[in-house]
Symmetry: C2
Subunit: 604 residues, 2 copies
């Protein structure tokens, strides 16, 4: 394993300089915190990661979670994380103080989790989903549900999960078939199977609080008939003791990566004795669940960015230590009697490393931008402001989820290549990062689903208001960058790309207006790549502007090489990544339709 898995200055630069945490901390809602306390919190997280999480990272891969005698067994560190997670506030960090949380900005929570996930990405789903399910109960549950479950979840005593997927209902949630039959005492009998339940069962939690999508008897078909239930593995008797609630762990899924993060197959009500409690109103379950899903989507993007950054540092460390070959001299010949050079000095290796840096830190900045909008929304007192940031967060969420996940594959794949043959060997960590990374483009709505959401829903919502607000935000960065001669050409190119988005939307929008929605959305994934690439350029220009400003103002928080490296990587991103947008726009505005099925099978 590499000595370094995360660059704390880069994270702090993003948190404070690029994404202006100060403007969040100056709000009433987050006003209890200041830079000093936040830095102390982040330091404790880094120490915890160094001491507990990183040392067992490869172990969790080589000794994966497994199913035995009706239970899933996981690495002991899972117990540590849940326990310390409660003590350190890892689970409760963004929760309101009135509910026992730290009421930290999501940007800080995101930074903390990114540190831990860079150290060991197999672990953070356990506290993360526990947090998400507790938040869901806090938002929509009855006082009784809140009191019964949330304190013990936030303390790490009990774990939480989200149960959506069924064997016949993966991306298509409208086909959820788990049933809920009303009982005289106000509870519901739950019956059904859920698969791919992350953290769904293990030996280190006394209870699992499953948040389950199910259909109340007689509910309408489709998503309109889905309700949300709290279904604990063990129900709480009147005397406070626990009683088995007929939630059976039927097995687990063995995977190519994230092998320490267990994935359960759960059966609810096999003995007809599984009780669930309705959250909020009937038939509104999917709407509620979207709160948790949106949170999880941001978490997925964050996790992917964290892995990509860790992989970058591992590749960079190797490149800085491995001598191989010689630099090409002026004659085009290499002098075989001279010392070998370090591979970091070969342009192609530098290209791969810069690509890793550009995509991983760029991905992280996209996630932080989403977290910033969340915090702006959460702390806004003016309803219009709240709505503005709500729309911006809605716009960003599919990109926050997808860019780090998809570009994370590209960057980590390049990270393997930096090591040559060693990159493929189990002895080196790069191959594990690559295997772990592969799930993120599938989690919480695949890239295809996110792309439909971005183009079909988010770009169109409120007559394009979200898209308009996002363009304004990007324009503000263009304006700020234009103050510096060095950045002007890139600001200009970003502006050209804003126009390009408008042109593409004009072309595609015509299909939506004609009612040809299948055609409108047929290249949604290409549109996602197109938008994501431009948003990545926006973030890099924003980072470069912050760096340039620091250099010009003589800000010495970090040294000049640090700031220069951000500007250099921005240039790299614009040269090697932004060049792709005209080609993608061509695909998106091409009249030829090749992927819409017309009945005849021509794929073969």
């Amino acid at each position: 394993m590499a000595k370094k898995y995360i660059d704390i200055p880069t994270l702090k630069f993003q948190l404070y300089n690029v994404h202006d945490l100060q403007s969040i901390l100056s709000s009433d809602y987050f006003g209890e915190h200041d830079e000093e306390t936040i830095n102390l919190f982040l330091e404790s997280i880094k120490d915890f990661s160094d001491q507990e999480l990183y040392p067992v990272f490869t172990e969790m891969d080589t000794q994966p979670a497994y199913f035995k005698d009706g239970q899933i067994m996981v690495h002991p560190v899972v117990g540590t994380v849940m326990k310390k997670g409660g003590e350190m506030g890892i689970i409760a960090s963004p929760v309101a103080m009135e509910h026992g949380g730290l009421q930290l900005p999501l940007a800080v929570h995101t930074t903390a989790y990114a540190i831990m996930e860079a150290a060991n990405n197999h672990l953070l789903g356990y506290p993360g989903l526990t947090l998400g399910s507790a938040e869901l109960i806090l938002s929509f549950g009855s006082d009784e549900l809140k009191e019964t479950y949330c304190p013990r979840m936030l303390s790490g005593e009990w774990a939480g999960t989200m149960c959506l997927t069924e064997p016949q209902a993966g991306s298509s949630l409208s086909d959820v078939a788990t049933t809920a039959s009303p009982q005289a005492d106000g509870s519901y009998k739950i019956k059904g199977q859920k698969i791919f339940i992350s953290g769904g069962d293990h030996q280190f939690s006394d209870n699992f609080v499953h948040l389950v999508l199910a259909r109340i008897d007689g509910a309408p078909a489709g998503t309109k008939g889905i309700s949300l239930f709290v279904v604990p593995k063990n129900r709480i008797k009147d005397d406070g003791s626990l009683e088995f609630n007929d939630v059976i762990t039927a097995g687990d899924f063995q995977k190519m990566g994230q092998r320490g993060y267990c994935t359960a197959h759960l059966i609810f009500g096999e003995s007809d004795d599984c009780r669930g409690w309705l959250v909020g109103e009937p038939h509104r379950g999917l709407k509620y669940m979207f709160q948790m899903m949106n949170g999880a989507r941001i978490a997925v993007g964050r996790g992917a960015a964290a892995i990509a950054m860790a992989a970058y540092h591992a590749s960079l460390e190797y490149a800085n230590e491995r001598p191989q070959g010689r630099k090409i001299g002026g004659s085009g010949k290499k002098d075989a009697t001279s010392e070998q050079t370090l591979i970091v000095n070969h342009p192609d290796v530098r290209r791969m490393l810069l690509l890793q840096k550009a995509l991983s830190e760029g991905g992280m900045s996209i996630v932080m931008q989403g977290a910033h909008y969340h915090d702006k929304m959460a702390s806004a007192t003016d309803p219009k402001e709240k709505e503005k940031y709500h729309l911006l967060l809605e716009m960003m969420t599919p990109i926050v989820k997808t860019f780090p996940s998809e570009k994370g594959i590209t960057s980590t794949n390049n990270g393997v290549q930096v090591l040559g043959g060693y990159g493929f060997c189990s002895e080196y960590i790069l191959q594990q990062y690559l295997r772990d990374m592969r799930i993120f483009a599938i989690y919480e709505g695949t890239t295809g689903i996110q792309s439909l959401d971005l183009l079909g829903r988010k770009m169109m919502m409120q007559g394009g208001k979200g898209a308009h607000l996002l363009a304004q935000e990007i324009n503000a960065t263009i304006m700020a960058a234009t103050a510096y001669d060095e950045l002007k050409p890139y600001a200009k190119e970003l502006g050209v790309n804003l126009k390009r988005i408008a042109e593409v939307m004009e072309y595609l929008g015509a299909f939506a207006q004609k009612g040809d929605f299948e055609r409108f959305l047929s290249d949604a994934t290409v549109f996602m790549d197109f938008m994501g690439t431009i948003v990545g350029g926006w973030q890099w220009l924003k980072m470069a502007t912050a760096a340039k400003e620091a250099l010009v103002m003589g800000n010495t928080t970090y040294d000049a090489v640090f700031y220069e490296s951000k500007i250099h990587t921005m240039k790299f991103y614009f040269k090697y990544e932004m060049q792709k947008t005209p080609g993608m726009a061509e695909i998106l505005t091409d009249d030829e339709v090749l992927t819409v099925a017309k009945g005849e099978e021509v794929i073969v």
Copy 2:
């Protein structure tokens, strides 16, 4: 596992219709064979693959090769492949009849191996490297070496390997440090370590014939001082019995994929008793070894294309069987009460499947094009013809190696995505294909090395003669396609791309002329992607033209849907892949230099 792992009609279409095997069979050298005998050979290969190779494919991954008590243990099927490989002519198929081979065209050998590798890619390196080392001895070895080793290698009794890499000499072969000290009897004492030796040791061969690069005492530094030796694991005593030759297996490498294909760490001469026999003249070893390396590079491209095709069929099968969601109706709404549709009907899934088909079959066609040039060269009687096809093969080799390997990652990665969550699960085969695929861009010279070869050597050789010949070949396809209205726009676009290559070379060539070779080559990998994408377009146009011709001529070897699917996939390739070439040309002709190290470290 999927029911189907390869489409034989597609391979035969490429062999006969696209790459004109008839023109090869009409030569004197290959004249012993005809379509009927070749088809029988391919059928026997397919049966063998169905019965012996495919059934153990996942087993070889879950029960990988391992090192124990000084030896590597592999799956028993390795023994079967070596034995049957001898009997069926799998090892000797392209070898001249005078040496006991079948003297089959490389195009046929390539087709046969692609079938077997699509069935099980962990196996073919064993006979493949045995063939390659036997061929190397046949080309450059003394009669005594030939007689001693080759018959028993071609029969599968003994295995062959290539030993290049050392711990300190990976991509940089000029740093090979293994020594060879001349002995009175004409042999050499060999001393050194070799790593990453594929098929380097296992329990199913009585002997291993290692072809080892080493430096004779006093040899000059660099590649000019490297000689080639036959170093058997067991040397042959005068009475014909075997005696240990001090070649120790020190360990193996555990890997993320191809886990059934063992990778050895060998130590030669630890007890100062390892003998080697010089092949050819001293100090010319690297030149000789390039014969085997070039063969291996074609084999690597072939293996990658085979895996990508197998992954395509596995994804397609899943997509044709998995119901999920509904097609988007005219209203933009989905009717949740209707039956779910098969996912093959979703445009985004079709896009991914077509991408898999375009990149995998396109990759295979590039490999077949290389094999065709090899056969033209081998069968040419006119020295000028021979030289022409030699140059074309030289041009194609780095692309044959790289396109299927790099695009194979992209296509197989999309193949995983087609399956959603199941794609990540060990229970489904896609994740294994993805893991297996990852090594191909590293084997036999990484993509970076191939790219330097393409731009720095092949594009420039004989004043650009190879590049000129390749352009002529591509132009011939453009001319042929132009006969059909449906293909004209694509032919035109390919022509535009030929000009684009010329423009890029004019820009880059200026740096070479100025002597700034580092800058000339700094974006070689981008150039490889650029050239490979265009060569892929060339191959697809060639396939579409052959298909169109068959449709127009009423050729009913395959049905109309088969031919239409090739034309459809060509259009897909041009829309989604060829659109990338202008952006890549922009990168290649961009004045901004960001990856050439200038002493200061700005990567951080």
